[in-house]
Symmetry: D3
Subunit: 341 residues, 6 copies
C-alpha cells in the first residue's frame, strides 16, 4: 500500500459520556464518571492501541469541555491534528448519559446530542492534504444520520478519499433514534459503490436492506451488488446485561471465503458500550497490518470486542501484546495461566 502519515483516519462525532458509578442510576446519586467516546473515535483509538497511527476528524467546541475531549483523545493515542474548533456561541459537545444494567434491568442511555458543534461540520473546514494523509478512511452510519451537514461531509469525504486511492471502511451501525430504516438504506446504498470494507449486522441487513437467507447468503448478496472486498458481521448473544458471548463472520470477497471461529463464551461484561467499535478496530488492524489477511482480522476483531466488554468507558484500553495473549489463550486448549505477572 501507499506510504502515508496515518494508517487510519475516521470521521465521527465525539461525545461526552456521563455515567453513574457501578450500578447506580442516572436519576440518583451525586457523581458522574466523565468519559469521552464516539463510534469512530472508539475505532481509531483501538487501532492506535494495537500499534498503528490513527487520527480522528471531528468538530468540537473551543471551551474547557472541548479541551477535555482533545486531551482524552491524545491520551488514547489518537492524533488531534484534524480536530476543528467551534468558537460559536452555540458551540457544544454532545452528551450522553449511560447507566449499567443488571438482569432484569437493562442498561439505559439518554442522549443529548442534538445541535452539537459536529452537526455543523463541513468538508470545507479541512485542507486538501487530508485526503492523501491516510491508508484507510472509516466512518459509520451514525455520522451520516446526525445532520444534513454531517451526511454531506461524510459522503464527500468518502468520495474524495477514494479518489486518492484510500481504502474505505464503513460500519452501518444503524440507530433507530437517529433516522428511519428507509432513510438509512437509501443513503447507504449511495455510498456502497465506494466502500471496500463493510460492517453490517445480520439484523440490520434483514430489516433495513431487506436481505434474506443466512448470514453467508446475505454477505454474498452484498458482494454481488457492490464492489466490496471484505464484509464482516458480528454475532453477539446477550445472556444478561453482565454476561454475553461473542463471535463474528468475515467474508473475503476476492477469495470467496468465509472466516469464523468459536465464540468467546460468557464474557464477564463490565461495560458493553463500544464493543462493536472495538470489533471494527480489531478487524481494521488485522487487515491494515497484515496486508488484508481476513483470518488475522477475524481473530483481532473478536478478541478486541470480547475484551472491550471488560473495560469501563467507550474506548478500549489494551496493548497489542495483551490482545495477542488473549487470542493465544482463546486458541489454546491446554494449560492456562491464571494471571499475568
Amino acid at each position: 500500500m501507499k506510504k502515508t502519515e496515518f494508517d487510519l483516519l475516521a470521521l465521527g462525532e465525539i461525545l461526552l459520556r456521563l455515567s453513574p458509578p457501578d450500578n447506580e442510576r442516572i436519576m440518583r446519586g451525586d457523581v458522574f464518571q466523565k468519559q469521552v467516546g464516539g463510534a469512530e473515535l472508539n475505532v481509531v483509538s483501538g487501532v492506535s492501541l494495537l500499534g498503528l497511527r490513527s487520527g480522528i476528524i471531528s468538530r468540537i467546541p473551543d471551551s474547557s469541555i472541548g479541551t477535555y475531549a482533545k486531551n482524552k483523545i491524545r491520551f488514547s493515542g489518537v492524533s488531534d491534528d484534524y480536530l476543528v474548533y467551534d468558537s460559536g456561541r452555540d458551540a457544544r459537545l454532545g452528551v450522553y448519559y449511560y447507566e449499567n444494567g443488571a438482569y432484569p434491568r437493562k442498561p439505559g442511555i439518554v442522549y443529548d446530542r442534538q445541535h452539537s458543534s459536529m452537526t455543523r461540520v463541513s468538508a470545507d473546514e479541512f485542507t486538501e492534504e487530508i485526503y492523501s494523509a491516510s491508508r484507510c478512511f472509516h466512518t459509520s452510519g451514525i455520522t451520516l444520520a446526525l445532520s444534513e451537514s454531517c451526511r454531506q461531509t461524510g459522503i464527500e469525504m468518502i468520495k474524495r478519499f477514494k479518489e486518492q486511492g484510500t481504502c474505505i471502511s464503513f460500519d452501518v451501525n444503524f440507530r433507530g433514534n437517529l433516522w428511519t430504516g428507509e432513510e438509512a438504506r437509501e443513503c447507504i446504498e449511495g455510498i456502497l459503490p465506494y466502500v471496500d470494507i463493510f460492517f453490517c449486522s445480520e439484523d440490520t441487513a434483514r430489516l433495513t436492506f431487506g436481505k434474506e437467507g443466512n448470514v453467508k447468503d446475505i454477505m454474498k448478496s452484498f458482494a454481488k451488488d457492490y464492489p466490496l472486498s471484505v464484509i464482516a458481521s458480528t454475532q453477539r448473544t446477550v445472556h444478561s446485561p453482565k454476561v454475553h458471548s461473542f463471535t463474528s463472520v468475515i467474508y473475503d470477497v476476492k477469495e470467496d471465503c468465509y472466516y469464523e471461529e468459536k465464540p468467546y463464551q460468557n464474557i464477564e461484561v463490565v461495560d458493553r458500550i463500544g464493543s462493536g467499535d472495538a470489533y471494527v478496530s480489531g478487524v481494521l488492524y488485522g487487515l491494515l497490518s497484515e496486508d488484508g489477511d481476513c483470518k488475522k482480522a477475524l481473530k483481532y476483531g473478536n478478541a478486541s470486542s470480547a475484551v472491550k466488554n471488560t473495560i469501563p468507558g467507550d474506548m478500549p484500553s489494551l496493548t497489542r501484546s495483551e490482545i495477542q495473549d488473549i487470542i493465544a489463550d482463546h486458541e489454546n486448549t491446554g494449560y492456562h495461566s491464571e494471571m499475568k505477572r
Copy 2:
C-alpha cells in the same frame, strides 16, 4: 373506592443505613455509603415511583440527621406530611450497618436501632384527619415488634383506619432478633381480623403460625380463619449472594383463585435489601391502581422485587414505564432488545 388525598399511608420506622462500598467490610475502610430505608418506607416509596400518592407516618429526630432522612423521603416521592419530630435529648434515628456478601461469605447486618425516636411514637401525636386521608394503610410486623409504644400505635392505627373504611395491608416480615415467634403469632392474630391484604412467607407461616401443607393450603387456611381479601407469599431461591431467583403466589380469596408466573431466573443481585418490600409495593400498586386485579398485582410485585435487587440501597428507584418494560420482557418469548436507548 373513596376519594382521598393519598392512595397509601404506612406506619414504620425510618433507619439510617450505613454500608461500606462494593465488597468492602464494615470492620475496615474509610467511608460508609449513607442511605435511608425502613420496611414500610420502602413500600410507600415503591408505590409512589409507580405513580400513586403515598406518605410515611413516622417519628424522627429534630436534627440534621432527621432533616437528611426527611429530604431523602421527599426525594423518593413520598410525602413528609406525617413525620413527627422528636426534640428530646435522647432523640435518635435508628442505624443499621450493612455489608454485601459474595459466596461463600453472606451479607451481614449489624443493627443499632434500640431507643430510637420511633420507639416512643404515640397515636396521639397525629391528628384525627389522618384516618380519612388514604385509600390504604400499611404496616408490618417489624413495627409491631419495635417497642410497646410502636405496637400500641400500630394496633390503634389499624383499627382506626379500618373504621374509616380504609383498606388494611399487613406484612408479617418476621424478624427473630426483634421478638419471638410466639410473641409475633399472638400479636398478629389480634390484628388479622382487621386486615384485607396479607403478606406472609411460607417459612413464617409454618414456623410461627404452625401452618401445614403446601403454600396454597396455607393461604386457604389463613383465609378460612380471617376475613382476608388477598394473601401473597414470595418464593425466593438464593443461589448465592449475587444470584437469586424470584417469584410469588397470590391468592384471591373472593375468587378462590391462585395466581402464579414463571420466576425471574438468575437475577444479578446488586443489593438484596428491600426486595421483599418492593414486592409489597408492586402488589399494592397493582391492587390499588387496577381495582384489585390480582394478576396485575402479581406481575407488578414480581417485577418490582426482581428489579429492586439490581439497585443499591433499600428503596427502589424505577419508573412505572421501566417496570412495564420489564414485565413485557419477562412475558416476551421473541426478540429482546439489549439496551434502552
Copy 3:
C-alpha cells in the same frame, strides 16, 4: 395577605450543574459532581428551607435526567406540582459546567443551555388555577433572556399573577452572555409597572438602566418611575475567589427608609454560585413571613447569602434556626461559642 396554597412560586429554568471536585479543572479529571440549580429554583429552595411553602414552575425533559432534577427539587423542600414534562425528541435539560477558582485563577463557567426544554415553555401548559395559588410570584431577567417563549411566558405570568393580587418579585440578574444591556433594559422597563419587590445591583443599574448617583439615589430613582414597594441591592467585595465580604441595602419605598448593616467580613467561600439567589430568598422570606418588615428582610437576606457561600452547589442548605443563630452571632459583640453541639 390572602390565604393560598403556596407562599412563593417562581418561574425559571432548571439546570444540571457538573463540576469537578475541589480545585480540579473541567479539562481534566475523571468525575463530575452532579447537582441541580437555577436562579429561581435557588430562590424558592431557600425560602422553603426557612419554613415557607414554595414551588417551581418549569419545563424539564421526561427522562432519567428530568427525574433526577425533579427528585432533587423535592429533596430541597420545593413542590414539583408545576413541573411540565417534555417528551419531545429534542427534550433536554440545560447543562452548565462550573469550576472553582483560587487566586489568581478565577472560577469558570461553560454554559450548554441552548435548546433546552425550558426554552419552549408556554403559559398555556399551566392551568388557570396557578395564578391564585401563591402569595408571591418571582422570576428573573435570566428567564426573560432565555428565549422568546420564555420571555412571553414570563411576562404573561407576571401580569396574570398580578391580576390575582399576587405580590410580584423580580431580580434583574443581568447576564451579558444571554442578551445585551439594551435588550434587557427595554424588556424589564415593560414589566416594572407590575413589580412590587425589585432586586437590582448597583453596577447593572448604572450600566443597563443608566442610573447615576450613589446606590440610594439609584433606588429612589427607580421608586420614582415605578410603583415598587421594596428595592434591594447587594454589595459584595471579592477579595479573592475564596474570600468575599457581603452586605446589602434595602429601600422601603412607602416608609422612604433605607436599611443597612455591617458586612459579613471575610466569608470563607466554598461555592459562590447561588449566593445572590440566596440573598433574594432571605429577603423574600423576611418580607413574606414578617409582613413586609424590611429590617428583618435585610438580616435574613444578608445572612442567607453569606452562608450560602460556604455550601457546595447552587442551592442553599440550612434550617431557619441555623440562619437565626448566624444573625444572632453577627449582631453579638460578646462571647461566641465556637461550635454547635
Copy 4:
C-alpha cells in the same frame, strides 16, 4: 518512676465519628467519612505516636463495628489489651456526626451516644493487675458525665490507680450537654484530692468552679485547695472556623513557676476536633518522657495541639520527629525551609 508495662492508660468512651467530606452538610450527600475518636483515646493515641506505650480502657460492642474500632485503635499505636467486649443485645458503639464549618457557618455536631456499651462499664470487668500496669492514668470529665456506671468506674479507677502510686491526670473537658456545671463541680471536687496533673480551661474555671482573677490566679487557687503537681490551661483564639491561634499556660506547683510561649498564629484549621486532647497528649508526653519538665511539656503540648488542627479526624497522626521539627520551626527566627523532602 516505677517500671511498668505502659506509660499511660486512659479510661474513656470510644465513638464512631461520621462526617460528610469537605464542606458538605450532614443533611445532604451520599457518603460519610468513617473514623474513630473519643477524648481519652485521642490522648493515648497522641502519646503513643510520640513514642510512649499507651492503652485505652473501654467497653465496646462485640460486633463488626466494635472490631472496626479495635482495629483503628491498634492502627493508632494504642494497645487494645484493656478493651472489654459487650455481647448483649443492646450493645452499641456511640456515634457522633460532625460537619466542618466555614465562616459564617460554625462546625456542627449531632451526638447519638446514649445507651452505648460504655455507659454500662464496671470496674469489675477489669482484673486487679491493671492498677499496677501503668506509670500514669488519665481520664476526663466526659467519662464522669456519661452515666452513673461510668462515673463510679472512673472514680474507683482514679482511687485504685492512685493507691498503686500511679500518677493521675485529669482533664475537666466540661460539656454542657452531658451534665450541669453544678453536677460537674461537685463530682470533680471529689476527685481533685487524687489528681496530680490537672487540665482546666479558664472559662470552665470561672463558670463552673467560680474562680476569679486572671488565669494564673485561678491556677494558684486550685493548687492551694488540692495537692496538684501540674496545672495546664489552653488559650485558643477562634478567628474563624478555618483559622485559629493557640497557646497555653502551665503551672508547675512545686516550683511555683508559670510556663508560657508565643502562640501558634493563624493555624490553617482542617479539623479542629481533638486538638484539645492532642494538647493533653503533648503535655503528658513531655512530663512522662522528660521527668516532669513543664517547659518541655508546654512545647510538646502546644505543638501537638496546633498541628492536630491540620489533620482530619479526632486522632492525631504525627511522629515525634515531626513534632520536634515543628517546635524547632516555632522557635526559629531565621531561615525556614518550605517543605520536608
Copy 5:
C-alpha cells in the same frame, strides 16, 4: 507444646499494593487503592484474625510509607515487635501494581520490588530472644528468592528456630519471575530437613521437584525423603477471573492419612490475591489451635481461602466465628439462612 509469647512468627517482605478501583486499568484512571500485603504477612494476619497471637519479622523504611505499613500491620492484629526500620538513603518499601481481570482479560500484576529495604535484611538485626518467642515459624519460597541476604536470613532463622524446638512451616510458593525452578529446588531441598509443615502445589511439585503420580503419590514421596509432619496442597479451578472453585488435600504423615472435602464451588471472586496465603493461615490455625488436628486444619484452610477471594486486598478480614459459620454452612445440607442479621 511450649509456652511462648507468640503462636506464630513469620519472616517475609511487606509490599505496598496499588490497585485501580473495580475494573479500571493500571494504565488509566486517577486513583489507586492503597493496601499492604505480602505472602507471609497475609498468613500471620489470617492466623491473628482467627484468634492466635502472631507477628511479622521484616525490614521496612523509616518513612511515612513505612509508618503506613506498620500501622496497617497493627490494624490487622499482627504484632510489629519484630519490624526493623531502615533509615538508609536507599530505604524503600517494595511496590506492586495489581488490576482485576474479567474474562477474557486476566488479572495483571506489575512488580517494582527490587532494591527494597527487605532485600538487605540480616539475621543480626534481631535479638537472640526471637528464637524462643513463638510456637511456630513460617516463611516461604518468595522470601528465599528475594535476594541473597533474604535467603541467608531465611535459612538461618529456620535453623535457629528449629534448634529452639519451634515448629517450622514452609510454603514453596514458586514464582518464576523471582528465580528459576532449578534454583528453587536446590535451595528448598536444603531446608526441607528442618520443615514440619509443608505447603506445595501439585504443579510445582511436578515441574520444580520432578515428582510424578497423583497428588497423593507426590505427598507420600516428599514424606519419604524428608521428616515432614504435615503436607498440604491446594486445588483451585479457575472458571474465569471472577469464578473459582477451591479445595485441598492434607496428608498427615504420622497417621499416613489423607484429608479431603468437597470443593467450595463457584466462589464469587472479588480479589484472588492472598487466597493461597489465607489457606496457609487456616491450616496453621487448625494445627496450632487444635493440637495438630489435620481434619480441622483442612476445614479452616479451605474456608479461609474460599472466603478470602471475596475480600478486597491481600490480607483476609474475618473473625473466627465467621469462618466457623462458613464451615458449618459448607457442611450443612439443609436450610441455609440467607443473611447474617
Copy 6:
C-alpha cells in the same frame, strides 16, 4: 530562528506521584491520587499548553505503569516521540509520595526514585536526528544529579544540541538530597559555557556558587563569567503552606537590563509542586514565541507560576488565553470581573 519540528525538547525523569487526597497523610488513608510529573516534563507541558510544540526525552518502563505515564504525557499536549522503553527485569518508574501541608505542618515528600529506568539512560538510545529537531533544549540540575548515566547523557545532549545551533536552557534546581553543593557547582560550571537561558535561585547562587551581593549583582556576576543571554531568578515568599506570594527578576544580558513586576500577593495555594517549573515554562514560552522579549517572558513566567499553585498535581493545566487574562488582571487597576462566564 531555524525551522524545526519542535520548539522545545527537554531531557528529564518522569515520576509517578502518589498523594493522599486533600489534607490526609501518607501514613493513613485508603487511596492515593495518581499523577505524573518531573521537573522537565512540567516545563514542556506548560510550554505546550501555551501553544508551542514540545516533547520530552526520557526512559520509562515497558509496562502498564510506563503506558500510564506515556498516556498522561500525551494528555498534557507533549510529544512522546522521544520516549525510550525499558524492557529489562529491573525496569521501574521512579515514585514519589507527596502530602500537602497546613500551617504549622509543612508539605512532605518521600522519594523512591533510585534505580529507575531513567537512571540507566544513554545518549546512544536516541537517533542523530533529535539534535536538529528543536529550537530549544532544556534540562535541569536534577537530571545531572540522578545518576552517572544521566549526567553523561545530559552533558552530551547539551553539547550536541548546541552544536546544531539549538538554544540551551538550564535550571539549576538544586536538591540537597540528590547531590552536594560542591558536586553541583563543579558539574554545572562545566556546562554553563553552553547555556543560553539560565535559571538559578538567589539562595542557590549564594550557597552553591558562592555569589555575593543582591540578586542583580549575582546575575551580573554569572553573565560576566559565562556567555549567557538570559538569567532568571524567582522570588517566592511562603506565608504558610496555603499562602504564598511570587514574583521574579529576569536579566537580559545583551541589553544589560533587569525586568521586574509587582508580586502576585497571597496566592491561594492548592498544590505548590511544579510552580517553579511552570515559571520556567512561562519564561521559555515568552522568549520562544516573542523572539526573546524578556518583558513578555517575565509576565508569562510569573503568571504561569502563580497560577500553577492553584492546580492539583505537578503539571500545569491552563490555556494561553487563560494566562493572558491573568496577566491582564494583574496589570489592571480598575474593575475586575469576578468570574469567567
